[in-house]
């Protein structure tokens, strides 16, 4: 919080220009679900998944 040293009003706002992020990193661009087998999990419907974050940043 900005300090108010006894002034009548809070410090004036400046309403600076706002920037918007590029939303290129949205997940779920492809709607197809690929199903795998997993012995350990005893499943024929083990879903192939992309990680929730970039595991490497090589490019």
């Amino acid at each position: 919080m900005k300090e108010n040293f006894g002034e009548k009003h809070k410090l004036p706002l400046s309403f600076k220009h706002m920037e918007y992020c590029d939303h290129t990193s949205k997940r779920g661009d492809k709607k197809i679900i690929y199903i795998l087998k997993s012995e350990k999990y005893q499943s024929n419907f083990y879903v192939r998944e992309k990680p929730v974050k970039p595991l490497t940043r090589l490019l």
Partner: protein, 351 residues
């Protein structure tokens, strides 16, 4: 009297000169001026009318403008007479059942993958990233995928150099004969062999770049993610090394193939044994809040850290490197990005 209620899925991260508002339901983040942070805090403690009255006439217009922004973006809602107490705060705890979630391997030979197969199952590793300087044939790709058939791995990503045999037929063969591969990046590709459409069971990229493993660790807007799993992991743990294991080209087991410290060689020790060695998990809880400069950055929970390449100018009391990632060109004190490699400190690693 009207009261503003911030939705539970809205995370506001305060930086040195801006704030980032992350919508953890829509998976988007937006930057706003720092003064909006003060207003959001005030809105949690007082009614809208009192807050507006506290500002001078000119600023009152801006407070109303900020309120409109909060409403338009559906960061919250207004109630009469009091806040709506039916919506409890969202927990930022992070829970992941896998002992390790990812393995990053600098490919040397296929036998390494066979060696780790049992450990991948035991540790319930979900993702494999393979970086190779060897030009993989279609048979190589298929063999890699088949080693992990019926395993717990739920995705494989491969970086391999482009070569002249890679054409649509080659990629179609992979499409028909692989299951777990979700991403293939052919680097050193001067000319794309065909136009990529969204027709394969994996994403495919051809890049001209000569990608070296030391190219890793870049911090850029394109690598930021807003989703609750990533953000809660970053709030509680190191966003790169938590639950990660790596094997370098010589078979040394590390937190990441690019880190210096190794915990044994894959020819002599299993991943499970390396994992329980003292020090293997020492970076796991080093959050961005404990890293110099990053701790003042509004992107700290959507960014992925790097401990392999850092500015190497800060160490904490436990001897952990708490310096800013070397390949980050963002200055949270000015809000400006510049090419990370411009700094004179960084001339040795320009990859």
């Amino acid at each position: 009297m009207r009261y503003f209620n911030v939705f539970s899925n809205i995370l506001v991260t305060k930086g040195a000169c801006r704030i980032l508002i992350s919508d953890l339901q829509r998976n988007v983040s937006e930057l706003y001026p720092l003064e909006l942070y003060d207003i959001i805090q005030e809105l949690k403690n007082d009614c809208i009318e009192n807050i507006i009255d506290g500002y001078d006439e000119e600023s009152q217009v801006m407070v109303k403008e900020y309120l409109n922004i909060l409403l338009q973006n559906e960061y919250g809602f207004i109630t009469e007479n009091n806040w709506d107490k039916n919506f409890s705060a969202l927990s930022y705890e992070y829970d992941e059942p896998s002992i390790l979630t990812e393995i990053f391997i600098e490919f040397s030979e296929i036998s390494v993958l066979r060696k780790i197969k049992r450990s991948v199952e035991n540790l319930r590793i979900k993702h494999l990233v393979l970086y190779s300087t060897k030009k993989f044939t279609a048979e190589d790709f298929i063999e890699i995928d088949q080693i992990f058939a019926t395993s717990v791995l739920s995705g494989i990503e491969i970086f391999s150099p482009f070569h002249e045999d890679v054409d649509k037929l080659f990629v179609n063969t992979l499409h028909k004969n692989t299951e777990r591969i979700y991403n293939i990046i052919f680097y050193n590709c001067r000319k794309k062999p065909f136009k990529i459409k969204d027709e394969f069971r994996f994403s495919l990229y051809f890049t001209e770049e000569e990608v070296k493993i030391s190219s890793c660790g870049k911090v850029d807007l394109k690598y930021f993610n807003t989703n609750i799993s990533k953000v809660t992991e970053a709030v509680n743990h190191n966003s790169c090394l938590h639950k990660k294991i790596g094997i370098d080209i010589n078979g040394n087991i590390k937190n990441c193939p690019l880190m210096a410290e190794n915990f044994g060689n894959i020819n002599n020790i299993s991943l499970e044994d390396a994992f329980i060695k003292p020090g293997f998990r020492k970076y796991w809880n080093l959050t961005k809040d404990k890293i110099e400069i990053c701790k003042d950055c509004e992107f700290r929970y959507v960014c992925t850290d790097c401990r392999a390449y850092t500015e190497r100018n800060h160490t904490n009391s436990e001897g952990l490197d708490t310096s800013k990632p070397l390949k980050c060109g963002y200055d949270p004190y000015t809000g400006k990005w510049e090419a990370w490699s411009k700094s004179p400190l960084k001339t040795t690693i320009k990859t």
